[in-house]
Symmetry: C2
């Protein structure tokens, strides 16, 4: 292109980026020519030279899960505005997949990564990325010992809200369905439930916990175990909205009306929870806030700004709808 126009490559480069160093006439001539020949800017070459790629990575467990999809939507909003390209990946809680993805980001010279770390992610993985110039921001799950910003809700507090709400309606035997001790959300929510029960002076039986379910399907399948429980709990605190929705479908199939016969709470307040029938009582978990803040924090880190104090937890809120009511003995 420089050749065709009889100018230097430096001038072309500057003109295309609207540098004031180039005379207006020259710039216009160059831009016009670029349009004509359908010039395509080669970002690989530029990035090789400048060592900034304009690529940001995002890796979560599974974007089919609306919980992550909502976080992602917010990240996308923020990133679009700053004209960054983002590379997305699921890790399905496989450390291997997550590592491959981080490697790819490193090889492409990505500018940073937002991750909801896979189960078992060691702090050293995070440190390795950081040391190789890939700033990390965590969402939804934290990693013990990793000194990077984390954006997530206050899980123990949030589940306490749901549990206490059920207790205030008169429930004394409350089960907890779903979640795993392998993630911080699973641990924190179970502990929050236990604490709320104990604070109300209620017994907590280990059998009342049905751990594992984290999807609609699994919540649906957990219905049988719940209905077979010895002491016939009158309510269930679910680990997430997906689990709660699956569980509610299971109850309906078994002839129970959620809210009327058995009280159910969810967690996350997904968009679809408000239109579920009956509408799900749940805990708003600030997915969009998490996404926005995480993206902003990463962008700030890139421009060298200080992002300390970003560890503070988002405060969940209880949204009472139709699936909770007075206890009914079976």
């Amino acid at each position: 292109m420089a050749e065709a126009l009889g100018v230097s490559t430096a001038t072309v480069s500057l003109a295309l980026r609207d540098s004031p160093l180039v005379a207006d006439a020259t710039r216009e001539r160059i831009k016009e020519h670029a349009r004509e020949i359908g010039y395509i800017y080669n970002r690989r070459a530029a990035s090789l030279r400048t060592s900034r790629s304009g690529i940001l990575g995002v890796v979560v467990r599974d974007i089919i899960n609306p919980f992550y999809a909502e976080i992602l939507g917010a990240i996308e909003d923020e990133l679009d505005r700053s004209r960054q390209t983002f590379l997305l990946s699921n890790h399905y809680d496989q450390l291997e997949k997550q590592r491959n993805f981080i490697d790819t980001l490193l090889q492409l010279g990505a500018d940073g990564v937002i991750m909801s770390p896979a189960i078992g992610t060691p702090a050293s993985d995070i440190r390795m990325a950081e040391e190789n110039g890939l700033p990390v921001v965590l969402v939804a799950r934290s990693v013990e010992g990793a000194d990077v910003p984390v954006f997530r809700g206050d899980d123990a507090y949030g589940i306490g809200l749901a549990t206490t709400h059920l207790i205030s309606l008169g429930h004394k035997r409350i089960a907890m369905i779903g979640g795993t001790d392998e993630t911080s959300t699973g641990r924190d929510r179970y502990q929050g439930y236990v604490r709320a029960m104990e604070e109300a002076g209620l017994a907590v039986k280990p059998e009342w916990r049905i751990p594992g379910p984290r999807s609609k399907q699994a919540g649906f399948e957990a219905t049988e175990a719940f209905l077979a429980l010895q002491d016939k709990p009158t309510a269930a605190v679910c680990w997430s909205d997906l689990v709660a929705i699956g569980f509610m479908n299971g109850l309906a199939r078994a002839g129970f009306k959620p809210g009327a016969d058995i009280s159910v709470t969810g967690y996350d307040d997904l968009e679809e929870s408000a239109i579920a029938t009956p509408a799900l009582t749940t805990v708003w978990n600030g997915q969009r806030d998490v996404g926005h803040r995480a993206a902003r924090a990463l962008l700030d880190r890139l421009t060298g700004k200080d992002v300390t104090g970003s560890q503070e937890l988002i405060r969940p809120e209880l949204h009472i709808r139709q699936t909770t009511g007075a206890p009914v003995e079976r």
Copy 2:
């Protein structure tokens, strides 16, 4: 690295890629050293040189939509196996967003793109990408005049299956909810419904079509319009499962039991449709097939294989569950 080991860069390059041209001992020494210093392969540089990037793009309307998420899952399966990195984007049916994404792919030297084109995508956009060395494969929606492989279901046939099923149960007044004439799926499904009605000698009233809804929320909101319809249709063919699920929730809120009081069919057979309560009668649309075939076709194009004959439509199947039954007058 070459310097530290006293070999040439060429040798290092070859050794790391396991070239048989390098002596075993040399190779091991180089690889060992690479591990020690935590060497990171620079893909930008390699790609600049070889003009292959290992990046594939995928752009769909909205991955929060499980229909696309399921296609995507299948694409991911296939691409993982071939060690390609994929760049994902939503276009939300905004041509501008789609064009930005294609530009980005071009700038990064992407090897190809799988797209479910935004409403209004002209064939010239596809041609432009192809001419600049970016092979295109289409999924779910076709583009008039674009001569590239398309993978999608036979929409007219599939909706005919659902409509005919309702007719065989005795329904004579059947509404169609959702979809837009701006997409091939919207047009084809409406036409398929009209044809099935006409072939059975039934009247088709334009008012019975409630166009627009394409989400759970919109399906939910369409309930009111449906219930207000003059001739009180006894059944509704929905444009998609999402619309059907939202609509069912709306019916339940209004006191009607889907399947018993009003028959409902969906389209796509999403995973969650089987556990909805009542379980949704719907049309399997082969999302996973679409994803797998599209990815394979793109990979084949990259290796120069012939992919003609890939235009053939996937044949949908009717999955009868609990939301369809004999007509009941209101």
